[in-house]
Symmetry: D2
Subunit: 185 residues, 4 copies
């Protein structure tokens, strides 16, 4: 009998770039890496997105699906449009699928809230069964990430029911070179 | 008798961030560094703007005025609004004056055209008399830039009449890690 | 039935720093990373040894043994003494075991020859059974190395007989920022 | 009347690499940059010597003479021989003149003592008259160094008498990524 991890809630997304619409359900059987970012978040531009590119290059897409999640929680007028994101994705040469996190009546977008993310960049790894196996805010080291991804790839796929998690977040956010934190301003 | 250099045309700017409106005329007597950029230009974010920050930190504002010039020539919908630029300037912690280059009926904004810039990032140095003494596209080395700025600071201020230059640019542009080039090459 | 890989020949070492003498035989059951270097090889100082440090920090010593192998094939008078190496190891804060590759009558030291290394830095990974599973010259990416190490750690240990390999190398060597290559190319 | 700075004492050197013997006296009229280093000092390899290379590349040798000064104050057996230094200079592709600081009966070599250096890397700038105008221990920023060198180059050469300075240094030293400090162990 194996340990049970929480299953990652389904993406709530308004639009996709670089891809037809995807669901986590569809991706069961592969490892999934979700790189949550904002286009005006310095830590995302300097660390998070380059790392996601390296993962997409280093591993076979048969084993891992890399998804960028544009989770805007500040400066909506500047980075909240599809056109702005499309320009960003073009200039930064990002070619993996990008999901636009759904706006909610709360301050944070829906998928970001569902995953209890602290801010951007956030890196989430789901295993074959869609369970959350890594959940990091800020910079992540390549060596450890490579090891973790490989470990998940080599696990046997296990099918199980999907649950959800809820959260409540304080308002206020701040960006540093490390990332954009939801919590404190 | 000294060599005559072309005098830099006056800035044509619609708005300023981090500053009251400035004119090059007002800045005569000081060296001026103009760092032309676009907020979605990877080479500007990685090289040009950090360099401008270092210059603003390393030299006294009595000797040199550092000005960021937001010269948008592509993705106007994404990076062409004051709100988008203000968010960018906030997140990247830029505190020197930022001028928004005036939109023209041509493809390139007005100051960019007047200075014959190839793309972004472009770095221009004006001497005490407002003459163009350095004009570089792409990455610039700190050591050489430090030497050039110091050399200009130590020159005796000379007052002279201001001329203008004109240019015509081919259309088409492309961004690389070096910068965003106006012309397809 | 699994694929057979060549078993790494036993280390031929004259002395150890930071450790009692070790044999590969003793390390069976753990993954072994051998980082071959020379203290005056720029690519080793800039890339190979920092990577070995990161591996030693990132993984448990119960799972992987990191060994530095000082394989001097040039400048023997400068880097060929135990005192020189001890000073280097001290100044560069290296705390994993360092083996001094045994001098031979040929130009290359014995372990370097036995492993058919092209130069320094060279990175070799042995699995639980001592089989050679990675053999790289020059810079290696953290992400891929992390994945490979994890993959080897998760394999079931298998015991088998130890074989040896032979080689013949051309003389002449050259160092670049990538590494020090045994053969003139 | 201009400010008087202390004149840099003459180099006390046992041998030169990459050059015929030089004296500071001979170099009067040019700016001189002395980069004091030890071949096993990590901060020298990572910062000091690459910086000296960039200076030698960026400025004309008619204006500035870049000199490496090998000032060994620890690990004499490992880095104290001409052969060890020659191998190092070869592998790290250093082509500016390298002086070997003269051994003394005290712990520190003679030129290092005469210049009151705290450790390695130390960077000293002498003006046209041989006066000490910059004296830094550890990492130095390119932008500021470029400005200082240019400032010295543009000064009018002034000839004056040469004085000397004396010092007494506590024993004990320690290397960090910043540099090797003479003072404290």
């Amino acid at each position: 009998m194996s340990i049970e991890y929480p299953v990652g809630p389904e993406l709530e997304v308004t639009e996709w770039l670089n891809s037809e619409p995807l669901t986590l359900e569809d991706l069961r059987g592969r490892v999934v890496m979700i790189e949550a970012f904002q286009m005006l978040c310095p830590g995302c531009v300097a660390h998070g997105l380059p790392l996601a590119k390296r993962v997409a290059d280093a591993f076979s897409s048969r084993h891992i699906a890399v998804i960028g999640l544009h989770s805007v929680f500040e400066h909506h007028e500047a980075q909240g449009t599809r056109a702005a994101l499309a320009a960003f994705v073009h200039e930064y040469r990002i070619d993996f699928p990008i999901a636009i996190d759904a706006h909610s009546n709360e301050r944070l977008p829906k998928t970001m809230t569902a995953y209890l993310m602290r801010g951007t960049p956030s890196l989430i790894l789901l295993d074959h069964a869609g369970q959350i196996r890594m959940h990091e805010f800020g910079a992540v080291a390549d060596l450890q990430l490579g090891a973790k991804i490989q470990s998940l790839i080599e696990e046997r796929p296990i099918v199980k029911d999907v649950g959800t998690t809820d959260m409540e977040l304080e308002h206020g956010s701040v960006c540093s070179s490390e990332g954009c934190d939801v919590m404190h301003r």
